[in-house]
């Protein structure tokens, strides 16, 4: 069948539009990667380019001569992400389960109690003062984990996932004499795996990408998570550069600008490598939620 002229025109516009947007989405990643493989001298003399004239591994070499800082930050981030996601997901699914039970008398009142926190809050400062002055979490890993454990949205999402499990299953399990917690562990959790996977990934991504809590609460360098370390490298390497310039011969140029870019690549690498897997789960979870409204 021959294509109509209007269809050809539509497709042409569509391909160009989508391709352009895709390029714009990739471009920043590209400049970081090419920047990290540039030679420092070229950057100093001419600035960053989309495609560098000279290929250089100096930045990565410099970083991996003393990689302890990066390894340590990886350890912190992995610890925080695993512990936070595991505990958070468990508590979220328990709360979601209770609120999804139609025979639980206070489900509406308690749902609103949780939901209201998204409508009104005391703001950043009272929250900060509570955590630092009253809970004494300053410079403690718990400050990276505990404040982000639960979110009202995730609990509501979980509740909606679990609502779609037929009540008759719970009822027949109760008649068989199973307790509520047993029903939750043996029956509801295995049936909620798509919801658990999506919400778990949301949580893990939140912990992995968090720099804000570290910025507020963490002062010891060995406790910096990855993103906050990257933030510090981006901001403070500039200071490093000026102090070196005064002390050393003008010919010596330690990589600082390219080092920042290499650090960005090393910190973001795992997310990009896991991306195809992450994306599949996300899209699935999102569309389940979207269809339900």
């Amino acid at each position: 069948m021959k294509m109509e002229r209007s269809t050809i025109a539509f497709n042409a516009i569509g391909y160009v539009f989508i391709t352009l947007l895709s390029i714009l989405c990739l471009l920043p990643f590209l400049v970081i990667i090419t920047g990290s493989f540039s030679s420092e001298n070229e950057i100093i003399a001419e600035g960053f380019k989309l495609i560098p004239n000279h290929f250089s591994l100096d930045a990565y070499r410099a970083m991996f001569t003393n990689p302890n800082q990066i390894y340590q930050a990886y350890k912190v981030t992995i610890l925080v992400t695993v512990v936070g996601t595991a505990i958070g997901l468990f508590l979220t699914s328990m709360a979601g389960f209770v609120l999804s039970r139609k025979d639980f008398k206070y489900r509406n009142g308690l749902s609103f109690y949780i939901y209201f926190t998204t409508l009104f809050s005391g703001g950043l400062i009272p929250w900060y003062i509570l955590i630092v002055n009253y809970l004494d979490m300053k410079d403690n890993y718990s400050a990276l984990i505990v404040p982000g454990l639960l979110s009202a949205w995730n609990i509501i999402l979980m509740k909606n996932f679990m609502k779609s499990i037929p009540d008759s299953l719970v009822e027949s399990a109760k008649i068989d004499g199973a307790g509520d917690f047993r029903i939750f562990i043996r029956l509801i959790l295995p049936l909620s795996t798509p919801g658990l996977a999506t919400i778990g990934l949301f949580m893990a991504l939140g912990y992995w990408n968090d720099w804000f809590n570290a910025n507020l609460f963490i002062t010891t360098e060995s406790k910096f998570p990855l993103q906050f370390l990257l933030y510090k490298i981006l901001a403070s390497a500039a200071v490093l550069k000026t102090s070196i310039a005064g002390n050393l011969s003008p010919n010596f140029k330690p990589p600082t600008e390219t080092l920042k870019m290499a650090a960005a690549v090393v910190v973001t690498g795992p997310i990009i490598l896991l991306y195809p897997f992450l994306q599949r789960f996300f899209v699935k979870g999102l569309t389940i939620g979207a269809v339900k409204g």
Binding site: F10, V98, G123, N133
Partner: protein, 304 residues
């Protein structure tokens, strides 16, 4: 009261299971609400919550009369309006094209590419901005020099940053929103399109007369829902792009960055809390209004 205790005794396990969540929100959401009292004090670190001198509405008065709050609120609202409208429009367009274009491989690849920015941290966005715009060696100033254009220091001008911030916001949310709209389009079913084809409608007519009208409710609903949060600024985005660059605040300062600076830079606890309380209170009123409108127009989607 007796009924409540009976209920607890009967559903002991369920109450125990939800207890950690209830405790969490009591601790991290409800107790800080008491802390809004700071907004009415001239906070001193010695005095603490109830030992600091009470000043009534002085902090609010200062924020209003100095014009600061007006600027911050205007910036916050205008940025969010542009984010919402431009973001949704582009997501909608992408979804329409992706739904109609042939070529499985092309669609899969571009969709993956457009979703990628959603997964990266805002710190990396900060790295992009540094690499692209840095006065000394950024890609764009370098490119401009190569083209023989006069040197232009991005960090000395406020004008370009509005566009940079909007760009990165739209950039980060494009894939996510496209997936939502695409799911809506996929839910429409083929009947309308088949019937329109038989009637001789071309693809532009099908999009204009079927897809877009069917998408309008979703579009309006998503816009309305976002309008409820129009006073909530995206701190990560603004802070990672602008940082502590005082030169640029006039056009880039939002309530959230102001509150953060009150806490971390100026130690002006009373003033910062007051700005935060204004944001929360005004925000609550907005959500109530939006919810009222949704309940009148799309009852099933009302928030509460």
């Amino acid at each position: 009261m007796l009924g409540f205790f009976k209920e607890v005794a009967k559903n002991r396990v369920l109450f125990l299971m939800i207890a950690p969540a209830l405790l969490f929100f009591a601790l991290f959401s409800y107790i800080p609400m008491v802390g809004v009292y700071y907004a009415f004090t001239n906070y001193s670190f010695d005095g603490g919550l109830f030992g600091s001198p009470f000043v009534g509405f002085e902090n609010f008065k200062f924020l209003f009369t100095s014009g600061q709050l007006v600027t911050l609120t205007r910036n916050t609202i205008l940025y969010n309006l542009v984010f919402i409208l431009l973001g949704n429009a582009l997501q909608l367009l992408c979804a329409i094209f992706l739904a109609e274009l042939p070529g499985k491989w092309f669609k899969k690849t571009t969709q993956s590419v457009m979703f990628l920015p959603f997964f990266i941290s805002f710190v990396l966005v900060g790295a992009f901005v540094l690499n692209l715009f840095s006065s000394e060696n950024g890609v764009i100033p370098t490119l401009m020099a190569q083209l023989g254009l006069p040197p232009y220091d991005f960090y000395m001008h406020t004008a370009p940053w509005k566009y940079i911030i909007v760009f990165f916001h739209v950039w980060k949310g494009l894939g996510y929103g496209t997936v939502i709209y695409l799911a809506a389009i996929m839910g429409f079913g083929d009947e309308y399109y088949e019937a329109a084809k038989i009637d001789g409608a071309n693809i532009f007519q099908r999009v204009r007369l079927i897809t877009i009208p069917l998408l309008v409710p979703t579009f309006i609903l998503l816009i309305l829902l976002s309008l409820g949060g129009i006073l909530k600024g995206q701190f990560d985005l603004f802070y990672q792009i602008v940082g502590q660059n005082g030169n640029l605040f006039a056009s880039t300062d939002i309530i959230d960055t102001y509150v953060y600076r009150s806490l971390a830079v100026n130690f002006d606890i009373g003033m910062g809390t007051a700005a935060g309380l204004f944001q929360s209170g005004f925000g609550l009123v907005l959500i109530l209004v939006v919810n009222y409108i949704i309940r009148k127009t799309h009852e099933d989607y009302a928030l509460f």
